[in-house]
């Protein structure tokens, strides 16, 4: 299961009407955006700012959903939920797994525009 790719490439290509160039552009956009997404999440959790952490989670969820990254979306939904309930300890725990998955997705997506 962990070896199965996060990124649902065929579903995304279908949604993009097989526009490979657009796929590459989106992949690059995501990879470039990862530092910001992670920084915002970490800063909010560290500051104990639950609404801001929820917003950062929501942002990650939206980005990940574009790539059909179901496991990451699931994880982030749990994290966002915890933030909304003010359960920051639970959210921080979920964040660890989420970060790992974000990095995994970024690695998968980097292949799209660095291959060849």
């Amino acid at each position: 299961m962990p070896d199965e790719p996060l990124f649902d490439r065929s579903a995304l290509l279908e949604n993009l009407d097989h526009d490979l160039e657009l796929l590459r552009l989106m992949a690059k956009t995501f990879v470039d955006d990862v530092p910001r997404l992670l920084t915002e999440l970490r800063a909010a959790l560290r500051a104990g700012d639950a609404p801001e952490a929820a917003r950062a989670s929501h942002n990650i969820k939206g980005s990940a959903a574009n790539f059909g990254a179901a496991r990451l979306v699931e994880q982030v939904v749990a994290m966002e939920q915890a933030c909304r309930c003010g359960e920051l300890a639970k959210a921080s725990a979920a964040a660890k797994d989420a970060e790992r998955l974000i990095v995994t997705l970024a690695v998968e997506l980097r292949r799209e525009f660095t291959a060849r």
Binding site: N15, L16, L22, M26, T29, D33, G62, S63, A65, N66
Partner: protein, 350 residues
């Protein structure tokens, strides 16, 4: 069509940008910062706004509220991007004026169909607005045309009367402008002054019904002939009365009353003072003054000074004192009008 996309998630923004380009063949204007997006939309005229719900500082609901506050954008299509389970958000967005929704994650088929519908709606709105404004323009032109034709008819009628009379076209123009001067000095409404200058030229239209023998007779009329001559006021009134045009209605009143005298010794009814309508009292001064200062086959032109003395002497007798005072008060302008419309100029175009 100008499409704006506001979404703080860069990958989603890229995706929607590509879809809009596919639909319109034209790049949309995109913003990841809702504040800049809002400022742009308020300064420009987009045809469709696609806006995310959850954004920092200004969320989608607040964004839509501020757009709808701008009267120009009250019917501009707005698509809000939300997850489909966020029912309460959708209700709130509908309340703020969202036109429709897009589901997250963005699906190509749905996006293209909804965006296309919104742009079609926009085109229909624009076509209707253009049609409404071109109709309004056409109505305005038609009304102007009617006014012009009405004025032309009046001028032609005045010209017809003039053919039977030794008085010249220049006389008609001078007395009409003198009448306007008096009305202005008396503080009457600008609309009334405008009507007066158009109506006054018809004051002698009734002379069309006066037999040539009497109308064109050189020298004095016998008392019987004078009785016939007086009829031109009543004939003029008959020609002009009951018109649907306010200018012609005013002309009818002038035709009937311009020979009444302030002391009640005029004709046809011998009305006195304020029972003579103001247009009749004004035109009496203007008409007599110009007749005195014009040369006629049977008399030389009086000097302006002599005519001025005559007006003073008949102040409160033949003429309404207020009208005489008003006329003498603007003496320089009287002289300017007499210079502007000399007797050589025969044409009756105002």
């Amino acid at each position: 069509m100008s499409v704006v996309i506001v979404d703080d998630t860069p990958t989603t923004l890229e995706l929607m940008r590509a879809f809009v380009f596919r639909l319109e063949g034209r790049e949309p204007v995109t913003f990841t910062d809702p504040g800049s997006g809002l400022a742009w939309c308020l300064e420009n005229d987009p045809d469709l706004i696609i806006v995310d719900y959850m954004m920092p500082n200004i969320d989608g609901l607040e964004f839509i509220r501020q757009i709808r506050r701008e009267p120009r954008h009250d019917s501009l299509p707005i698509l809000m991007v939300t997850a489909d389970h966020e029912k309460n958000v959708r209700y709130a967005a509908l309340n703020e004026g969202a036109t429709d929704f897009l589901n997250k994650p963005v699906d190509r088929m749905e996006f293209l169909a909804r965006a296309k519908n919104m742009l079609a709606l926009r085109r229909t709105q624009q076509a209707l607005a253009e049609r409404a404004s071109s109709l309004a323009e056409a109505v305005k032109r038609a009304v102007e045309e009617i006014h012009d034709r009405e004025h032309e008819t009046i001028v032609r009628l005045a010209r017809a009367a003039e053919c039977r009379d030794p008085e010249t076209g220049a006389h008609i123009l001078r007395m009409a402008h003198y009448a306007q001067l008096i009305a202005a000095r008396l503080g009457l409404a600008p609309e009334f002054q405008e009507m007066l200058v158009r109506a006054a030229p018809m004051h002698d239209v009734g002379k069309l019904g006066t037999p040539d023998l009497i109308l064109l007779k050189p020298g004095r009329h016998t008392p019987e002939e004078f009785e016939v001559m007086k009829q031109h006021t009543l004939i003029g009134y008959e020609i002009l009365r009951e018109s649907s045009s306010p200018v012609v209605q005013l002309a009818a009143s002038i035709a009937l009353r311009h020979h009444e005298k302030f002391d009640g010794t005029g004709y046809p009814r011998g009305l006195a003072g304020a029972t003579i309508p103001i247009e009749g009292r004004i035109v009496a001064v203007a008409d007599v003054f110009d007749a005195l200062t014009s040369e006629r086959p049977y008399k030389k032109a009086w000097t302006f000074e002599a005519a001025q003395v005559y007006l003073r002497e008949n102040r409160g007798r033949h003429f309404d004192p207020l009208c005489v005072d008003a006329f003498l008060d603007v003496w320089e302008r009287v002289l300017a009008i007499s210079r502007r419309f000399r007797d050589e100029e025969e044409s009756v175009s105002v």
